[in-house]
Symmetry: C2
Subunit: 219 residues, 2 copies
DNA sequence: ATAACAATCCGGTAATCATTTGATTAAGAA
DNA sequence: TTCTTAATCAAATGATTACCGGATTGTTAT
């Protein structure tokens, strides 16, 4: 049955097209950015620290695998994920990477902030505390990303504005900062700044994409 | 902050190591085989229709990403998935591929058998019927794989033995066959044979790996 | 119209990857 | 010990990929 072989090869080849998209670091970074909402090529390139040409080339790959959609808006072209399942797959892949790759665990350890005992690291009790106003949750991503979605009870204070807006925050309650996800360093920077200024603070590893994937293990 | 760039690049690079593993058709096939239980390099090579050297090279990649473990057993070396999460990721990736790639949908359509109205395609009612003996579920994979795990109420009849063992099956009730998953053609072949011999039969697209991933959509 | 800008396309280069061939290790059997 | 089998390693190949520069397309502003 040589015929069956050919069919099978074809099937696996198709799935590998999806895998290929997730095999390049830059593309992963673009996907994580797109998890925060639709963005122009220019924005994506700037935020991923690559040239627009390279961003365009990588986005072309993403579109080839039908994982993103585009829409022209005047001079710009907006890219967005074609399906929430793409964001979910990104979360599943980086979760597996974190579980299996010691090297990645070490790197993440390096950038981790000291845990704050006042702040729980499980979602449910944190949300309960946020609802009651016992902690202040701040979203330090750019405002546009906050507007797309944000955690319940979260206040938008982009990392760039944080220093000027410290007066808005209470000193008696802990400040919990979050950003795009575990590979985005904005929340870490926010916590460092806040602690230096005398606030009680900790950061949430997860971003929106991680937050609403149901079956992900909570550390 | 050039430093932050370097750290971020390192993080995404690590995750991309996992993505790379899933970017080669042959490696995907090996992963699917390993989802059925531990196997020797020889078995894997034979079942994936590749040379042992090539299989060994691909397995080396898998081990490099810490997605598989090995154990020497006499002359042979057994490979097994290092974590159930690896199987889950395989299911998530091929599910996304099936959702997004029209080409894959077309290929899968070609090999699909005619649906049988007597047999439900949602899991719950199928299991209910199997429990009550209203359908006979057969596992047509090799016996070793059946022994590792199988669906509840499933009977083991490897595809090679099916023709000789037709007498074991009832003609009055539908026979539901399943195998390794949607890219394994054994269940399809079984259904073809059974129907030609006058049985009522249909096949289950999903295998064990797909079955016990909780959040997967049922078609 | 022309200019300015966003984005893609095209061609080339260096690096990486899949695959094959031949030699090598490691364990069990004669 | 030697022979056989299972599996890996090392080196070489052809194909693919990431990334750069230069030219091109499509859109808005002047």
């Amino acid at each position: 049955m040589k015929d069956a072989r050919k069919i099978k090869d074809l099937l696996y080849e198709q799935v590998a097209r999806i895998g290929k998209v997730f095999s390049s670091p830059k593309r992963l970074e673009l996907i994580e950015l797109l998890c925060q909402g639709e963005k122009t090529v220019e924005t994506l390139a700037r935020e991923a620290s690559i040239s627009m040409k390279l961003a365009s080339a990588h986005l072309r790959e993403l579109r080839g695998a039908h994982l993103v959609e585009t829409e022209r808006q005047g001079k710009n072209i907006l890219y967005r994920l074609a399906d929430k399942a793409v964001a979910d797959l990104w979360v599943h892949i980086h979760s597996l990477a974190e579980d299996r790759l010691i090297e990645l665990q070490i790197e993440l350890q390096k950038i981790a902030t000291q845990p704050n005992d006042l702040i729980p690291n499980d979602r449910e009790t944190l949300m309960k505390m946020a609802r009651r106003g016992e902690v202040v949750v701040i979203d330090v991503r750019p405002t546009e990303e906050y507007l797309v979605t944000h955690l319940p009870f979260a206040r938008s204070i982009p990392i760039d504005e944080l220093r000027q807006r410290l007066a808005e925050l209470p000193k008696d309650r802990p400040i919990v900062a979050y950003c795009r996800g575990p590979y985005c360093l904005m929340a870490v920077d926010a916590v460092k700044l806040l602690r230096k200024e005398g606030f009680k603070s900790a950061h949430l590893r997860d971003g929106i994409a991680e937050w609403d994937v149901p079956e992900i293990r909570q550390v």
